[in-house]
Every structure is written in structure tokens, then in C-alpha cells.
């Protein structure tokens, strides 16, 4: 089963507050693969808005995105595009 790990710098939306975090979860739940988000030593489920919010990810922070499952690559691509979008 594909397992991907990638370091991504979050550009989007002045960090992941409620609205962008909600968008990220909405992306993740479309896929069967799992999504984990790791910041410093903490690792949370990327399909959980509470988990993402609790990481308190500011813009320009580097995080590690881990996807695992049949569609892991497509999920990684969409997550990366979302997080690196500067709007």
C-alpha cells in the first residue's frame, strides 16, 4: 500500500484557522487513504478538524504530511496544492 511523507510549508490563509481547516478536512474525507499531519513532535488525524485546529498551524510553518492508502498519491497532491496556495 502506498505510503507517502512530505514536508510542506503552509502558505494558505494566515494559517489553518477554522475555515481553512474545514476545507482541508473536506478534501481529506473524499479519499479512502488516511491523512496524518505532523507538526514538531505532534501528529494528528488530518480528517479531524479538532486535531488540525489544536496544532495551531501558522502561515509559513513547515509541517509533515503523511498519506497512506490506495489513493495516497492523489490525496497528497491535492493537500499540497491546497496548503501551498497563497490566498
Amino acid at each position: 500500500m502506498p505510503h507517502l511523507e512530505k514536508e510542506i510549508v503552509v502558505k494558505s490563509h494566515q494559517g489553518l484557522h477554522a475555515r481553512p481547516a474545514a476545507l482541508l478536512v473536506q478534501i481529506a474525507v473524499k479519499y479512502d487513504s488516511s491523512l496524518m499531519i505532523k507538526k514538531d513532535e505532534e501528529c494528528v488525524n488530518g480528517k479531524s478538524i479538532m486535531g488540525i485546529l489544536m496544532l495551531g498551524i501558522q502561515a509559513n510553518t513547515s509541517i509533515v504530511v503523511i498519506t497512506e492508502g490506495e489513493d495516497a498519491e492523489a490525496l497528497m497532491a491535492e493537500v499540497e496544492a491546497f496548503l501551498s496556495k497563497d490566498e
Binding site: H13, Q14, G15, L16, H17, A18, R19, A21, A22, V25, Q26, V44, N45, K47, S48, I49, M50, G51, L53, M54, G56, I57, Q58, E87
Partner: protein, 588 residues
Amino acid sequence: MNELVLKGVPAAPGIAIGSAYIVDKQDVIVPARAILEKEIPIEIARFEEALLKTREQISALKKKISDEIGSQHAQIFDAHLLVLEDRMLFDDVVKKIRTDKQSAEYAFSSIFKKYIKVFANIQDEYLRERSSDVNDIARRVLKNLIDETRFMHELENLTEELIIIAHDLSPSDTASMFNKNVLAFATDIGGRTSHTAIMAKSLGVPAVVGLKDATLRISNQDTVIVDGRMGLVILNPNDKTLSIYRAEQERILSMRNRFDDIKELPSETTDGRKLEVLANLELPEEIPMILTRGAAGIGLYRTEYFYMNRVDLPTEEEQFIAYKKVAQTMAPYPVTIRTLDLGGDKFISSLQIPRDMYPFLGWRALKFCLERPDIFKTQLRAILRASKFGKVRLMYPMVSGPGEFRSVNAILELVKSNLRRENIAFDEDMEVGVMIEVPSAAMTADILAKEAKFFSIGTNDLIQYTLAIDRVNEQTAAFYEPCHPAVLRLIQRTVDSGHKENIKIGLCGEMSGEPIYALLLLGLGVDEFSMSAGNILQIKKLIRSVGYQDAQQLAQMALTLTTGPEVEDLCRRRLQELAPDIFNVDGS
């Protein structure tokens, strides 16, 4: 108890006197309640039920907000819904019910407290503040889990007429106050375009925000006065203060009723000069109120609020929807949209813009738009697309002269040709006008008049730039003289230059809403008066009570005087003679 005056930021005009109601955001204390092994499935079921019920409530709220004040205000509820569906939260609570054998409400509230603690430690201030959304959700779920009577004093159950005092009001707080007996709002935080201000304006009640610690100083049932014009909240007012404010309240009320009969009548002087009285608009939510005051259109639609109190830039679509709605609702009346005027005392939240030492002379309005054509073009596209749906006029702020006017028009033409190429319809005849608020624009009005379709004199800025007075600075505020001879001459020059080229001259500063100045401006030849909706009927009444010739004579005489105070005296005397009705109501 001594009277105490709290100073805040005026957010919605009007005066309210009444009993305070503090919106309590304190934690609900949930006592531990141990359960038996066999009760575990029951508690889990109760928890699931509460989540479902909360979900229904939030969906209903989302729909209500979306219908009543627009879908962009409802977006936050998507995040709320996701919190309810959250696996981590659900699993944590269920685990706690099972292993600790505790009631659903206790398990939920202790898990949530743990989360809130983590949020409180988030470094980023912006992200930390957003955690109030999560708090909001937690309260709702708890409420669905425990005895309703404990929430008797929640907003949704209010029946008396009260003045709402809160630290801040969330969208769901204000939604539950719709159609309730709210007399006024006062909050510790927030600015002129905060959610509280929007709600107050659409409900037509006064509001003061940014009071810092009102919730700490005021208690339930204290008597308070909310003065939405001056941005004051007076706690425990003494008899003298109360009687002053009661009289003022009465005066405003009687003025409203008194002139109500002329609402539908034209703004025409006794000797037949036809004028237009329009409204200034900041938030689309004000439109229903504006329509009840008999405005003949929008003379100034400020668009800055789109860019403030948010972290991202507004999209073309978002702006288009708002402009279109305003144009459609106001049609066939004109809607004059002013392009972005940021800088000065208003800053865009999403861009890191360096603070200037002299902000009013700094990177402001068009100087900003010319440097950031990306932001400017997005707005122009949205305005042009909306022009198809009503009578839209476009107006540039802070134009310094013909050169700058041509530069921004070149950008406009570029945007227009792009739209044509994309086959997107817009009003090819949309009028483009210039605000005359920089002395250099007034001095070149004869050139500008040949190229613009209308002028709108912005007296607030024209006065401060002409007299070199910062209107935000308390030390110089006393030197702010609307009737200074230099200001009058610039206005006269602008009007005459415009009329020579047959274009209409509007005026949208504070001056147009004040009877003594309006009389003078009428005499100087201004064609359109645009003002806060609250002043419209009064100015309409003034116009209908006087002759244009009398006003012209007054203006001629005023132009021969040498100081501002002399002009003011003259105007006051003439107003008393020509329109004693207005003079007495205004009491100035």
C-alpha cells in the same frame, strides 16, 4: 452609585436607555456523575443524540443567516458542523464514558476543556482568537445534554426589552437575537465594521463597540444609556443626564415622525430647483432602513468593509454578488460605488502594510490601487459586472488631478476590454466620476470636468487637507472649520467648473447632513446631497422649505466673509429665519 461614562467606538447611531443584560460566556459547571456499567450504552446514545440535535440547530442557523444577511456570513458554520462530526472528539468522549464510567455531559465537558486548554496555548494570536468558534459549539452541545433550565438566561429566552452587553458577539449569538427585543448593543471589542455593527445597523438599533471592559463594569439590570452617535455608554446615569438623553431621544423620534409625510415627495425648493437627496452606505444590511427614509439612491457606497476584519482578500465573485444585490434592490435609483479607499485611518487586514508617519498623506486609496492593480482590477471587474443589474455609477476617491484620473481610467478600460473579450455583459454607459477631496483636484476641477461624468465633493477630507488638520488627532480637532473661506472657495470653484461642462455636483461629507451647512451648500449650487440615512428627511424638509434664490444670496454673502465662525453665524441666523422648523428641531 456614581455615574460612569465609558468611551468606545460608535458603530450604529441612535440612543437607547434601558436595563443592561450581560451575555455570560462563563463556563457552565458540569458536576461529575458516575454511571453504572449497564448505563454506558445509554450515555453514548445520549451523546450521539445531542450531537445530532446540535447539528440540526446549526444547519437551521446557517440557513437563517444565509437568507437574512448573506451566505458569506454563514460559511463559518461549515467549520462548526465539522467539529460535530469530528472522529477524534467523538472517540475521546466515548472512551471517557466507557473507561471512567462518567455521564455523557461530564465526559464531553472535560474532554472539551482539555482541547480549549491546548487552544489557549497556541502562539499565534489570530489562530488563538478563532478558538471562540469551538467554544460556541461546546456550549450548544452541552445545552442539548443537560437540563435546559440552567440556560434560562440565555439570549434565546429573552422576553424583556434589554440592552445587550457582551465581550463580543458571535454570529450565532446575533442570529438568535433576530426579532428579539434588543434596544442596543455594547461590546468590549470590535470595530466599526464588526459583526455587531452590521447586526445593529440592520436591526436599526444603536451600538457602541470597543469599550474594552464594559462587561466587567456593568452588571445585570444596571441602568445604562447607549449613545451610538458619540460612542458612549453611560452607567448609572444621574437624573440630569437621564433627562438630557430622554429629551434627545424624543427629539430624534419626533423628527422621524414629523417629516415622515414628505418621504415620497421630491426634494424641490419653493422656487422650483430640483435636487437629489441620497444615502451613504457602508453595509448592504442598511438598505431596508435606507429605503424607509426616502433616499433617491446611494450617493456613496463605501467598499472598504470587504477588506477589513479578515485575513484573505475578497474575491471578484463575492464582491459581484454584494454589488449586484445593492444595485438590484435600489433600482431604478443610482448606486454610486466608490472604489477602495484604504489607508488613512482604515487598514486592510490581510496585507502587511507599513504604518506611515502621516497616514492621511501616506499610501492611500488610488496610490495604493495603482501599485496593486491586481486588487484594484478584481474590484473593477466586480463593479462592472454588477452594472448590468441596475444603475451603477463608479467613483474614484482621492484623485489628485487629471493625470491620476487618466491612469486609473486606463486600468478601467483594460478591464472593460477583457470583459468584452470574455463576452461578459456590463453597462457600457456606466458613469465614471471623481471625488473632489484633495485641494489639487478642486484646483484642477475645470480640467477634470471635461473628462468626468460627475463630481462628488468629499468635504471630510477636503477640509483636513486644505487646513492641514488631522481630523483623527484630538489636539487639532478644534481647528477643523467646515466654513473656512478656503474651503468655501474650493467648493465654489468645483461647482462652477462642473456646471460649465454640464455635469452634476454631489457632496457626500458630513456637511451635507447638517442643516446649517446644507443651506449654504444648496446656495453654492450643489445638485446632490448624500448623507447618513438618519439625516435624509430633515434635509429634504429643509430643501422643501426654502427658496433657491434665498440660499444663493446667503452663499454670495458667505463668500465675502473672512473667517469660518462668521460664516457659521450667518448660516445659523439665516436658517432660523428661513426654516424655523428645522432650526428648532436641530437645536444647533
